[in-house]
């Protein structure tokens, strides 16, 4: 399993639009990918699940990926976070 931690810097947090883009990115990998915020865990491939976390600015999230392409998944998703969030 691979993972990384990230503190969201974007003013608006992970709202519908970035959540959609994230879910789409996550769907392109075979690995199981989840995002944790505090005690709550979301399936990153599901938009609704992701949005339910209600991630806001300065929230800390942990992204976990497990599967054949986990390295690439974590790398790409981390890139996305750095660029957009």
């Amino acid at each position: 399993m691979k993972s990384f931690e990230f503190v969201v810097k974007d003013e608006c947090g992970i709202h519908a639009r970035p959540a959609g883009l994230l879910a789409n990115k996550a769907k392109s990998f075979d690995s199981d990918i989840e995002m944790k915020k505090g005690a709550n865990t979301a399936n990153m491939k599901k938009l609704f699940s992701l949005m339910s976390l209600g991630v806001k600015k300065n929230d800390k999230v942990i992204v976990n990926a497990q599967g054949a392409d986990e390295d690439k998944a974590i790398q790409d998703i981390q890139d996305f976070f750095n660029k957009n969030l």
């Binding site: 519908a16 639009r17 959609g20 609704f48 339910s52």
Partner: protein, 637 residues
């Protein structure tokens, strides 16, 4: 919206890969004929399983959806929704944009059916008029010298005589050329002054002494102009070839000429080159080829004792197979050539038998089956078949069941063998089936022998088909086939009143590209979001501008008020529910201040999106321009 084919039309459009995947759409007597950019995008299995669709055939570069006799109604609705071009659009032919590269054969069939398709109805009507007139003359009701006869004959024959003009138009549509250039070319080919030339004294002969000997009656810039014996009246191939060339040339001129003079110079420079070339090159070449084909077939039929029998057997047996692939159109010009070169045709005689055999097989099934649903299809299919339209029989019944199809082929082969052996000839393009009988009467000699032969051959084939099928047919064990798609169908109501926009029209790429899901956007007239269905609130954005709802049936619906309104940070928004709340359709979920959103500089376009699209076959947004609260805006399949 009240049209009963509305749902079907939408399913069809979605499953041929959406509007954007369609190059053009036309229909024949039972099929919708799509030309698709990428046939792999079409959801053939779903279409086949849809009520109202008999089957799907991919052939000759066309994606054909077999509907039945009501196809024109369905076509109208599909076209209303999709606004497809009917054959044409210059990208269709030659420019290679069609995703699938077509083989030469497929291209040929595609061309012929495309060119003849739009005129089939009138072609049959003219044929029936000619056929009935032949019968009336045969029965001595009318004489060919009567004014009544002559007027009626003009209706029937005028169309055939000026066929190059008519095909000039349809070919131009087909090849994406200016239709009036096609008409002008056809008009030049059958211009009475030119046709009249061959009545004058020949001024020379080429290839004298060979089977291809042709006289010429005039020269163009000192080059002999070869004309077919009867000029170009009623010809098929020359005009198609000429217009194809013209379409290429027209495109070239359009590219190189300055805009200001295009209107006048493109047709001028196209016609002034194409028409003489047609007379000098295309005309003679195609004339020779036609002679060659005519000779070859006459030769095959002319083999002593067995030629006609063999040819008839083969044609009878495989006619329906040709029909399935739409290949039967390849024989139409041959028949036309025969009429034109010989004054009669024998190539298509076995086909007459084949359609009746097919129909009788279906009648046998109708009588024998206990399956109510099959009976319901079989009777209209049989009647339709007796009038010559066998597609419902073939695609609705015999082919899916396979064995009945083979039975009809065997019966047709026997009937076709008889027609071939007897050398049965038809003398005009007949109407379909029963109406086609009079075309087997030789008007010139008042001889109905050919008609008696065709009746005999047909009766033999009909009896064989009917009896064999009646003996061999057995109902299959009933298979319960539930279509998942229709069971899961769910309607999402408008959560507000307002004008609609397709997602693709939205400025925000995340929505317009469909990343978030499929659905529709509404420009709200009132600052309230009502629940679009019964369900549960799954999530509410901290900033109150978006809400996620999971419907009772499991659809995950996102309603996002305005574009970029996340930046308003909740100002002007009030949410009446919280995550986990069970909601009833029509309940107010969010209240918002439209003016405030506008003043803040944001669009109020509100996408309503189904996000878990992977779970469904399709998400179909409405195409009405404005919706009221509670109208269905999205249908989930």
């Amino acid at each position: 919206m009240a049209n009963k084919y509305d749902g079907l039309a939408r399913i069809i459009i979605q499953n041929v890969g959406g509007k954007s995947n369609v190059i053009s759409l036309s229909h024949c007597i039972t099929r919708l004929r799509f030309k698709l950019k990428d046939e792999s995008k079409a959801n053939t299995e779903v279409l086949k399983a849809t009520d109202g669709i008999v089957t799907v055939i991919q052939s000759g570069g066309q994606y054909q959806i077999v509907i039945g006799n009501n196809v024109s109604d369905v076509y109208d609705v599909v076209n209303e929704i999709g606004h497809f071009s009917e054959e044409s659009s210059s990208e269709e032919v030659g420019s290679g944009k069609s995703g699938k590269k077509m083989s030469a054969g497929a291209m040929f069939i595609d061309t012929i059916s495309g060119v003849f398709q739009p005129v089939l109805g009138v072609l049959s009507a003219s044929g029936i008029i000619k056929g009935v007139l032949a019968l009336l003359v045969f029965l001595k009701v009318l004489a060919p010298t009567d004014g009544t006869y002559q007027i009626l004959w003009a209706i029937g024959d005028g169309f055939f005589y000026f066929l190059p003009i008519i095909l000039g138009y349809t070919s131009a549509k087909k090849f994406g050329a200016n239709p009036f250039i096609g008409l002008a070319t056809g008009g030049a080919l059958v211009y009475p002054g030119i046709v009249g030339l061959s009545a004058q004294k020949a001024i020379g002969t080429v290839l004298a002494g060979s089977a291809f000997q042709t006289s010429y009656f005039c020269t163009f810039l000192h080059i002999p102009v070869l004309l077919p014996a009867a000029g170009y009246a009623s010809t098929v191939v020359p005009i198609i070839v000429a217009v194809w060339d013209a379409s290429k040339l027209e495109r070239f001129w359009k590219k190189v000429l300055p805009d200001v003079i295009k209107l006048f110079f493109v047709p001028l420079l196209t016609l002034i080159i194409i028409v003489p070339i047609t007379f000098l090159v295309v005309g003679p070449v195609t004339t020779f080829l036609c002679q060659l084909i005519g000779i070859a077939f006459k030769g095959l039929y002319g083999i002593p004792y067995v030629g006609g029998l063999v040819a008839g057997l083969i044609l009878g047996a495989f006619w329906q197979v040709l029909v399935i692939f739409g290949l039967h159109w390849g024989l139409i010009p041959l028949m036309m050539i025969n009429y034109q070169m010989l004054g009669y045709d024998f190539v298509l005689s076995p086909f007459f038998v084949a359609t009746f055999a097919q129909s009788m097989v279906v009648l046998a099934i109708f009588i024998k089956t206990k399956d109510r649903k099959l009976k319901d299809i079989a009777l209209p299919a049989f009647i339709s078949g007796m009038f010559g339209v066998t597609e419902p029989c073939i695609y609705g019944i015999t082919l899916p069941k396979k064995k009945p199809f083979v039975v009809s082929c065997v019966a047709s082969a026997i009937g076709g063998g008889i027609t071939g052996w007897a050398g049965v000839k038809s003398y005009t393009v007949g109407g379909l089936e029963i109406f086609g009988l009079p075309s087997y009467i030789n008007v010139k000699t008042d001889d109905a022998t050919d008609m008696y032969w065709i009746i005999f051959a047909t009766l033999v084939a009909m009896v064989i088909a009917f009896v064999v099928e009646l003996i061999t047919y057995k109902d299959e064990a009933p298979v319960k086939k539930e279509i998942g798609a229709t069971n899961n169908k769910e309607a999402i109501a408008a959560p507000m009143k307002g004008e609609t926009k397709q997602l693709s029209e939205l400025e925000d790429e995340t929505f317009s590209s469909g990343v978030l899901g499929q659905g529709i956007a509404i420009v709200p007239e009132e600052g309230k979001i009502y629940a679009p269905c019964n369900g549960t609130v799954t999530n509410v954005a901290e900033t109150c501008h978006a809400i996620g709802i999971t419907s009772e049936k499991g659809a995950e619906i996102l309603i996002h008020v305005g574009m970029d309104t996340v930046k308003m940070n909740g100002a002007g928004f009030k949410v009446n529910v919280k995550s986990g709340d069970v909601i009833k359709k029509g309940q107010v979920l969010i209240e918002f201040d439209i003016d405030r959103i506008k003043k803040a500089g944001f669009s109020t376009d509100t996408p309503v999106i189904v996000t878990n699209v992977d779970k469904y076959i399709d998400i179909v947004p409405t195409d009405t321009k404005s919706v009221s609260l509670g109208d269905t805006v999205i249908t989930i399949l």
